[in-house]
Symmetry: C2
Subunit: 392 residues, 2 copies
């Protein structure tokens, strides 16, 4: 795993969550990086989301560090803004950077006050401990109900030389990102402007994080950040921006699949493909409706090729299509042709559905070409157990 | 329980479902009744839904009988329309009624062919067995994953005399009616025209069945039928239509609460009230978003007053409101004031939440007056168990 140059990492246990595992993480870029970010569209937004947005605007898309805590979302809190500001200010002093180049992020319980001193008193030691090989520890420290750390790296040759991208993300529940997911941080050592980053990030997110759902809930803290510090010395000319965007999209898709696979209680990653809808947006709406149907998700949990539920979920999406021209494939097997049962062996499909990945493909035959891919997971008793007991 | 005059009922086991309990039900009106009905808005519609709609149009809103089967939805089937037509035709001959005065309805598995002969060969005995006291048996025969039959009756004095209304309904999963619920049949012996019925039905459904969700899924078979046969001899003048509408709304609300309480795997009925939204539609959208949030529903299952999730779910509804002016009450206790935690005893609220009904009230303070009420249930492991194993 080759990480992008010029980033350092540190983590520690600050006592924010009860369980004694790292809950505070710091990513620092030397030199300051260009940055672009997308945040939750939930009308209820956490204090760090609001402050990160302000900071990026004030700094003109420059960032020196990201400070992340798990265990408390710092959302719907009386002191939320003050706490986030104080943490940024303290860190800025230690790094000798402007406060508006510090981006805070939080994940965890909503509505509990966050004690700033828990964080600020650990910052000197965090900064002192910064090292180039702490990347994976950061991915671990930001986990809440996640069962595995989630990260991906890529390296590619451009005309000016090699660049590296590394992304880390977290999220297992409250996942239907709408503008971005819970938390994702993507770092590259390419030399890029904030505008170039933005032009790469938005379409890549559209194809990946906006096509992900665990439970249809949209977090108050969703943040995805893309930073480029130029430490590779490689500048990407206009002609190579498309290549970068493809690289980024593949990396984000990798992260998104990791989130879906680790969805709360999930046993299976489900990939849903819709083809032949009126347009791509209509296809995405149908795919999302299938992905969010508890009846489809429980059927997959039971390894039941219950295509009737898939058709029902497509039908309630609110976009017109002709069921009589619709075919459905589960694990590559045609289970529904022209809106009615196809000839297939239930046993064979059930056997195939016991795999860790499940593919659902819905094809509307005709002259329309709208298509979309969507990622989700099955719905098991463990989702309920985790969420009925999470806080207590 | 005083039932409306002029209706007779019969049920039998026709072998449509495997378990040996009644799965075929017949309701006959003597004389023919005026009728109004609302059907699913799912783009995938079952054959009986399409045929009932056709019949009502062709008969000018007259109906003689409703023929209902459980165990098979007759949806996404090759022979669906033919089967439904054949059943209606056979029954029409036996009742000496026009075929377009027979309304078919089906509920059960989607995508399995329904054998018409299972039904037609039992029709003579069903018709011979019609009796005025089979109402509750019909409510039982149309159950699928329901654990209790659901019905309600009402009687009221109008200027012309007493009239009675009786409603029966079924549904436990695939419930977020959008135009109507899975199956609901409401009978009255008042004398009313199809237009008068329609004018009463649509606003009553708007306040009741359209404010109900078990799992956010919309059935392919949703049907609500209101029939009036005039057997009481009581005509309702224009001035009393409003009274009838109120009576009907109360009766439908009663049925809707019964569905929510019996939601698949549910332990608790949840009533959600939203006040102070921009308008009633915005309030309903916020209430629906809370009702459909798996994180809210699992929190209620765990008797956890997790108001952060309620606020999150309100925030993702897609309608603007100010979290800082928002209060949340759970079981009448203020748990969130002005968007942050209120002072309350977690233990006290948890204790109150162990009751069979849970009330969530979200109040946005300010000058707006939009309000809505919504009914749903908690989400437990049993929902998963039922739906991962339903077909197999």
């Amino acid at each position: 795993m080759r990480l992008p140059l010029g980033y350092r990492y540190a983590t520690c246990y600050a006592g924010i969550r009860q369980e004694r595992k790292d809950d505070l993480a710091l990513i620092v870029s030397d030199p300051a990086a260009s940055a672009a970010a997308m945040f939750t569209t939930n009308a209820v937004r956490a204090a760090p989301v609001k402050l990160s947005e302000q900071h990026l605007r004030a700094s003109g898309g420059k960032m020196r560090a990201v400070l992340i805590n798990a265990g408390n979302a710092n959302c719907a809190t009386r002191t939320g803004e003050r706490v986030a500001r104080e943490c940024c200010r303290t860190l800025a002093r230690l790094l000798r950077a402007p406060a508006n180049q510090i981006l805070p992020a939080s994940t965890g319980v909503i509505g509990a006050e966050l004690d700033a001193s828990l964080i600020t008193r650990r910052l000197p030691e965090l900064v002192a401990g910064l090292s180039e090989d702490g990347f994976e520890r950061v991915a671990r420290a930001i986990m809440t109900t996640d069962t595995t750390p989630k990260f991906a790296t890529a390296e590619a040759a451009f005309r000016g030389g090699h660049i590296r991208i590394a992304g880390l993300t977290k999220g297992a529940g409250m996942i239907q990102p709408n503008m971005a997911t819970m938390l994702a941080f993507v770092l590259t050592d390419a030399q890029m402007t904030p505008v170039e980053l933005w032009e790469a990030l938005t379409p890549a997110v559209e194809q990946t994080y906006h096509r992900l759902s665990v439970d249809g809930d949209t977090s108050t803290n969703d943040t995805i950040l893309l930073a480029a510090n130029g430490a590779s010395g490689v500048t990407l000319p206009r002609s190579e921006q498309k290549l970068f965007r493809e690289l980024l999209t593949r990396l984000l898709e990798d992260l998104v699949r990791k989130i879906a696979r680790d969805g709360e209680g999930a046993r299976r990653l489900i990939t849903i493909e819709v083809e032949g809808a009126l347009n791509d947006a209509a296809a995405a709406q149908i795919a999302r409706s299938i992905a969010n149907s508890p009846l489809v998700k429980t059927a997959v949990a039971g390894a039941d090729a219950n295509w009737g539920r898939i058709l029902m979920a497509a039908g309630k999406a609110g976009v017109p299509f002709d069921p009589a021209r619709t075919d459905i494939y589960v694990q590559g097997v045609a289970v529904c042709r022209s809106g009615v049962a196809a000839q297939f062996s239930e046993e064979e499909v059930e056997e195939k559905m016991r795999a860790p990945e499940c593919s659902i493909r819905l094809v509307i035959r005709g002259r329309h070409r709208g298509r979309a891919r969507f990622f989700t997971c099955d719905l098991t008793e463990d989702y309920i157990r985790i969420n009925a007991e999470y806080r207590t």
